[in-house]
Symmetry: D2
Subunit: 390 residues, 4 copies
């Protein structure tokens, strides 16, 4: 290993920087997952994670990354050949579509331009047309990590209700939870999927399914084969604070600490902080004369900002220059956005000065890489942040 002075700027939209308190919490010897000390830990994190989703219903914790939690959501409530309705909001919606297809589901994909969230009206229209209720579930990505666009989850709920359709409502907020406002119960979501390595500030390795009574009822009929992902065996063990197979114990230590930290700051303050940093970032982008990918003011992600480069510019080369010269990782353009955009993560354990260091790295990188732009982005962000600091 060759020492490079200073701390790496990890400004991708997750994994987000893991704070020292969480790393230290995880850095304890693994305990017996069948002993009484574990049961206390288990009960504590199973209760705490519900508060993160704002739900009274159970939340399942898997030793798996978010992709596993996607799969879990589907296999617990659906059967081979079932039809699901998805919305093409970006790369992660596309990957969820692929996953569902591989599992033997029939997916209908409402097309999108990757610059808007899911369209409640289109969903309502499609459900109204589905008079024989072939569609078993509507799946929406809350915070599209590939685009920096959020979907309006409460409005989609309203759309489903308006249609009078009985489909289940599944939401992926892998990169939104504990950064962007999210309300599993109030918004009437049946299964919410999330992961550890974004707003919860943990390393990757555990992921979640928040449930509803309706989802639990549907699970009784679902016939897709499952064992590892099976909610029933999880819920049975969780009742006493345990898990049906070996859990990722040290990540649970970290989860306990993460929940404490988020509740010390207060979830509403956490959300406001993310909004403020996102606004500062957009002001910088506009001052550079560049375009924010998200086109709807109501749908800007508080978690990340995706920047569209002018035609002919290579965003991957820009990211490479920034990584080499300024030791900062930014998110790449994914799927059909490859090379066209880069993504600035501003989630999790960051503060004003880290964000400004980040924006300075982007602004210098644009200069070093010869991307046409105006300077002044950092200045614009500073003006906003100092005006709104307290």
């Amino acid at each position: 290993m060759s020492y490079k002075s200073g701390r790496h700027f990890l400004q991708i939209p997750g994994p987000s920087p893991v704070p020292d308190r969480i790393l230290r919490a995880m850095d304890y010897p693994t305990i017996d997952h069948r002993g009484p000390e574990f049961a206390e830990l288990g009960k504590e994190v199973l209760a705490g994670i519900k508060r993160m989703f704002k739900t009274e219903s159970p939340v399942i914790i898997y030793p798996a990354s978010g992709t596993g939690a996607w799969e879990a959501a589907l296999v617990n409530i659906l059967s081979v050949g079932d039809k699901v309705l998805m919305c093409e909001t970006g790369q992660f919606a596309t990957l969820w579509h692929e996953l569902a297809t591989k599992l033997g589901l029939e997916v209908e994909f409402i097309p999108g331009d990757w610059r808007h969230g899911a369209d409640p009206q289109a969903i309502e229209a499609r459900l109204r047309a589905d008079t024989d209720h072939q569609i078993k579930a509507v799946c929406v990505v809350h915070n599209e990590t590939s685009t920096g666009v959020t979907s309006r989850i409460a409005e989609v709920r309203q759309a489903i209700d308006n249609s009078g359709h009985p489909a289940l409502y599944l939401v992926d907020t892998i990169s939104g939870l504990a950064s962007a406002d999210y309300r599993h119960d109030e918004w009437g979501v049946d299964v919410t999927v999330s992961g550890s390595q974004k707003g919860l500030m943990l390393p990757p390795g555990i992921s979640f399914n928040a449930l509803s009574d309706k989802a639990l009822k549907a699970a009784e009929q679902a016939t897709l084969p499952k064992s590892y992902w099976d909610w029933q065996s999880m819920l049975a063990s969780n009742a006493t604070g345990y898990f049906p197979y070996t859990p990722a114990t040290n990540l649970l230590y970290g989860l306990k600490e993460a929940i404490s930290m988020l509740e010390e700051e207060g979830l509403e303050q956490v959300f406001a902080r993310h909004q403020r940093h996102a606004e500062a970032t957009r002001r910088a982008v506009r001052a550079w004369g560049l375009e924010v990918l998200c086109l709807n003011e109501q749908e800007h992600s508080p978690v990340l900002t995706t920047v569209l480069l002018p035609e002919g510019q290579d965003a991957d080369r820009l990211r490479q220059v920034i990584l080499q010269r300024f030791d900062m990782s930014l998110g790449a353009g994914l799927g059909k956005l490859k090379g066209r955009v880069f993504r600035i993560g501003h989630l999790g354990d960051i503060n004003d000065l880290t964000l400004l260091g980040t924006l300075a790295g982007v602004e210098m990188g644009l200069a070093c890489a010869g991307v046409p732009h105006q300077s002044g982005g950092v200045q614009a962000a500073m003006a906003y942040l100092s005006d709104t600091s307290a």
Copy 2:
């Protein structure tokens, strides 16, 4: 938290005590799993883990616990309704059976008494009888964590070969890898399943499938639905050091360190150390006048020793006394052995003095709990260990 002086003795058969070097290695900030630094790490652990299995074929690393790797092994090579042959060697064989059934497979279970390993002759006979090759796979648990009995994997291979049957050969060495001698290639195993929290000395959270060409070929025909567990997408990404979805990065830091440590000591020395500690433990058990569960001298596990209590004694109460008075966790009797046995883990990062502290805790616990026994177990173990120390 209330401080209790001294280090907890975690002498269950896994998770095993995580050494400081591994905890420290894992205690670094998570890096970008799409960046060049990660690719180096990925390539290094993907190469290193092959040496742990003694294979030239690929090894898949899942962000999941061992149960997930079991499921992965089955869904990649089998189709709904396929028949598999399993051997009732203990609780984990039983759980693997249940899992397979839940996935829609038809399992034939060769019965066993939980005191012997899988019977090569019975397997050979069953395969010979299966003249139309209905059986698609033979599944054997190498080191039964519930009994402390190992199965003779090479002899089972020989039995399959003798029968001339084309079934795939799947082995679970979740609790055996890097503690008990294991040779994926030499022993002709098609899929070996393992996990992180035993001989590899890591916390739980990653698990493995070691493959063979034959397994990879079978995977092309298998139709069980799969996405998270799908080998093909893993292999495609692994080729450049990456993973198709977010890996458990910090556990991979730990895996890199674990492989270094095991290779510093030397795998053969690691195996010999485990054998020596197992022998010392059995000498203690016999000096106490108690019975080792395993009945076949050739099949004693180097990883754990299961001790059968006299009729009428409650092993769970004994374990509770030991936990309360001496701050040591031992393994419970599982399934039909519940309350009849306790299990002493002597795997991973331990040494002579820790083993003797462990045996002292058991001997004192027997006294405190009023379990009829003779003293002298620690003395017997000390005699053996000092004679064989170097």
Copy 3:
């Protein structure tokens, strides 16, 4: 580095094993020692350390090891040529004597056999004879780390009082604090010297002077040159939670955690635990047919036990055998005891099973090194510990 399986047994009489909670507490970034966050930390540890000494008077915390705190105690209250009375209880008393001499003090040394504590009667007699009060200070080592003998501090106080002599009373409890009962105020000590790496379970690097009003008054007249050790500048800064020069911030993090841990267990429980482990150790030694160095039943150290080998046996070779074969560090014979004794530390963060592992290592080492002894030491300790466990 070459990996050696298992945790090293550090059974020297200090540094004692540093518990994970303390290591993690210390493993945070250093903060600004002039900022408000530091002041809170400073006030907390300055208050907490007083409870460890059982004093209402100030305790000075030096960024230095215990030897520095010895020097500090002397230079703050004495002047060149002053006479001090010391007692030859062992190697550390001898080193304190040397240190005082190097500083220009005149030391009178009451001779001792290194197998008894300081003799209150001899001290009283000497002070009575010092009718013109030439002796300015009486210096006693509470827990002689080189011999495992404690001096009776309260009785020495009584002896000084009986003599009607105005000398200051200085006590070194570097290896006794937070392991052996100690009461700075009740026992009328003027300056108590201690360090971090024994009962406080910290790494070495900070040390202490607990003061009295009389000591503070004496400091006003003392003329030995001093700056780093000067109490006055310390007290002035400490009043607001700060230090006059850069403190060892990360060790203060650890100190805060150590005080919490000791108070969670309860200081009286901590003392009882040490007494119990010391008794178990002595029973082992006697079962081996070996001799405990300490000859007075009232003066056995709860911190360590020094074992005298039969004539002609080399204790250093024994320790070397034990280190090589069983990865355990024991204390060497120091000064005139070199090669004749070894010392077993049983202080700080240990428990019954670790102590038994330790004693097993000694018993096996005696066998391996060919030292004449009887087996059964571990057995004797087990009998005592299981009888007295709760």
Copy 4:
């Protein structure tokens, strides 16, 4: 503790941010400082630290902060009443003066304006005038942490040589070592004093005396009382890798890692990096229309930049605003500069983006606190850094 999102910006001129690698290296159990494993560590750090000072002579490592190493340098080579020549370059020179006085030395202080380094011509003149060689030592602070002004150590050496005076030459580079170019041997320094918590990136708690043959010879005659600081006992123990009293073992683990890191980057690259960051900082200060305290272009510190506020502005209030709003610690004005200046540390483990975050915090703080200034400082620094990045 209440969670505050993001990493604190510790931009004081030391302690500097401790990198994760060093924290992890220190986070291992303390080992026996009398055992063979320690001797290897001791030899390695004693050899490595010499390379940091660029000396072939011994370097003493004290378990003490830098103030202790100052005291050590004086008491080892001087006797009560000896005369030393010091230069009033700032607060730390003033404190060293006070310390020397408290130890009974007679100090002559060449006055200074705190905006220039030591004046070689004034020193030469004073030494020439000292025809009977009353002056025993010349003491110069290399990098004045209170002012951000460096003294030209090689030129002072030349001045002493020119005068033909035999005085010893003592230099304090507590905050300069491993950040600013320093050459103990080449520059003919007799005793160099330094500490751990600046360029070496360690927590505070160990400090250094680099020696010369002439210093060692002088030590034979010096009569100031000493024991803890005594070079002779240190050198005797260090010969075999040990220390005469308990060392700060865990900081030595950190020192080993720090030396590795600095040598991985290369000391000359480390110096160049500090110069570049200092230049960027000065450009920011000038763009703000503020004044850098240091008046001599040749004497700008690469370690910190001291900024003079306009008359009537309160620098401490500014620092408080910045700490509260932007979670950044800056250095206060010390001594006669209190309230007039603030100090920006840019030493140790930092990089371009952290520096820019730092400067952004200052620029926003100036705005929030209403200090008259022009914006554009961050912009100026960015322009310089991107032009000079590689």
